[in-house]
Symmetry: C2
Subunit: 166 residues, 2 copies
């Protein structure tokens, strides 16, 4: 049988393995006021060498990739829904919002790095619950961000999220 | 046998499944000058409903999570190395840089959204090679970014990356 060129290559699923765990005072999902939450990322010494964090203290902020592990795969949304379940807000596609019930259940969050103690990272403002499996930690580099003045986004969504951090 | 409390819960690996593919004129890895690259993210209609992108056109920038699929798992770094292989630069831990040879081989990149045509997203400045499996697309929201004036990072690294986009 000829390969179907139109369909393009079907990529394989692949296994990701947590490299650490979030320890946070928050263990119940809630929407807002994450800014003052102090938490810890415990990196796994079975996955990483001690020098995996060399130089990390030179960065003020991290980008953390994690697994929304409390969301069952069956609960993920593949179409559109109301942000935060608020029917007074317009429906948005799952890829046009940051809802946790998303394909692959991957979270990406920025937080402040308060300190590095071996493979223990002290962070502030990380919006991930206690026990969250961490898949990656990257330094936040301003170079990779769009200039704030170039960013366009819906004002109504920004208003709806205004208490997210503080 | 008693569970070992000290070790903490060992998280399970889990399967992630690509939701789309990058189509880019760039098919060979290179470091710099990504800013002008126009590419397409072809989302997979077998994974997503047509309304998964409803409202996405209201955002100027995307955050794309992808798999560095050309990096074999055996090539990943679990300790420290010189950024870009440049021995004139200080060694950095793998979590203190954004090198592709990292645990779980997950990339997170911002790019400009130039247009939405069904499940085809036209983007600019996406630093991912042709054929890259896309695991998630999120809207870039300024709310989730640290204030630029609060960001601290090593000047030498910024200098070494100065041609990354333009």
């Amino acid at each position: 049988m000829e390969p179907d060129q139109k369909a393009g290559p079907a990529h394989d699923a692949y296994l990701v393995r947590p490299i650490g765990t979030v320890r946070s005072p928050r263990s119940v999902p809630r929407h807002d006021h994450w800014g003052d939450v102090s938490a810890v990322i415990e990196l796994d010494p079975a996955q990483l060498q001690p020098d995996a964090v060399t130089g990390l203290e030179q960065f003020s902020h991290l980008e953390v990739v994690f697994h929304f592990h409390l969301v069952p795969e069956s609960a993920t949304v593949t179409g559109a829904c109301h942000p935060r379940g608020r029917t007074d807000l317009p429906r948005l596609g799952i890829l046009a919002q940051r809802l946790k019930e998303r394909p692959n259940r991957l979270g990406v969050s920025r937080c402040e790095l308060a300190g590095v103690d071996g493979l223990t990272l002290h962070v502030r403002g990380l919006d991930a619950l206690d026990g969250t499996p961490v898949l990656d930690v990257k330094p936040h580099q301003q170079l990779f961000q769009p200039a704030p003045e170039a960013v366009r986004e819906p004002a109504w969504l920004r208003a709806a999220m205004s208490a997210y951090y503080f």
